[in-house]
Amino acid sequence: MTERPDLKQALGRLLGPGASEIGCDECFARLDEYVDVELAGGDADAAVPGLRAHLDGCPACREEHDSLRALLDTHR
């Protein structure tokens, strides 16, 4: 089978992450903890299980995660 990143991406949007994930409200509640652990070089996925999978499935929460990381990179 030929590698098809566009197909994989389109299917991923429709079918979401295969792994167990938390919801948007818990993602928001724990996003600060997750990002601080990430920036400290720790195991953020162990600290907040299911948040990474949620970011894979929710573009809005992923954008807010990326913004928080970028902001802290700039202003810390």
Partner: protein, 239 residues
């Protein structure tokens, strides 16, 4: 079917001050770092000290909201700089209310500044997503399915991929409820931002994502029962 655009852009529906937290293990309070302790002490003080701390907090939130606005500015070419700044200021004002209402919820799992930044980023992001869709109708039916097929079908693998896409479309049409189908199509196929759809359907981001999650689970099950090697298509074999 489309949803008409509302007349104005409203407040965020995912209200951090009231949004319930569901699932997951409860967090144990952490020892606070000195900076976080000082923020909490000064914001809980009275008189001029509290006013000064609140003003410093607002400045932090405004910095975060402007940061978010600047990241999105290229995708909002129709907005002038002063409009972006007005949205950032409104986001900072709303975030300030949320943070002050939830001070007792801060448990020290992160730095205090990290915790407050996320409120401003959320408020700004939601307002800007909604502003970018203001006046636009939200498509709820798979008008773009043909475009989707054309984009993802490779001529040399048309038969194999055609089977996958036919099963996918059958699942969307037959396995999902009407509400699940509308939400999945709008969010995952037509790429409507979840906050925009939440506003149009008068619901919350969390509720919509739950619907999307349930629809995705059903579709995955349908495809797996059809005998398709889903993990291979999705590149999930090594997870």
């Amino acid at each position: 079917m489309t949803l008409p655009a509302p007349a104005t852009v409203g407040r965020t529906d995912m209200n951090p001050a009231t949004a319930p937290v569901t699932g997951g293990a409860p967090r144990t309070p952490q020892p606070l770092d000195a900076d976080s302790r000082e923020w909490l002490r000064s914001l809980r003080a009275s008189g001029a000290e509290r006013e000064a701390a609140t003003a410093r907090l607002h400045a932090l939130l405004l910095r975060a909201a402007r940061f978010e606005a600047s990241r999105r500015a290229a995708r909002l070419p129709h907005l002038r700089g002063n409009e972006l700044d007005e949205i950032a200021l409104e986001a900072a004002d709303d975030a300030l209310m949320s943070v002050l209402a939830r001070l007792d919820d801060f448990r020290g799992a992160s730095r205090f500044t990290t915790w407050v930044y996320k409120f401003a980023l959320l408020e700004a992001a939601v307002k800007l997503r909604r502003r970018s869709w203001q006046g636009r109708e939200v498509p709820l039916e798979p008008e773009s399915w043909d475009r989707f097929e054309a984009a993802v079908l490779a001529p040399e693998e048309r038969a194999e991929q055609g089977e996958l896409l036919a099963s996918l479309q059958h699942g969307i049409d037959e396995v999902l409820t009407a509400h699940q189908r509308r939400v999945l199509v709008a969010l995952a196929l037509n790429e409507v931002p979840i906050d925009v759809l939440a506003e149009r359907l008068n619901t919350t981001r969390g509720a919509l994502y739950k619907t999307l999650h349930d629809a995705r689970r059903k579709l995955r099950k349908h495809l797996e029962e059809s005998g398709l090697a889903l993990a291979v298509w999705l590149g999930e074999e090594e997870r």
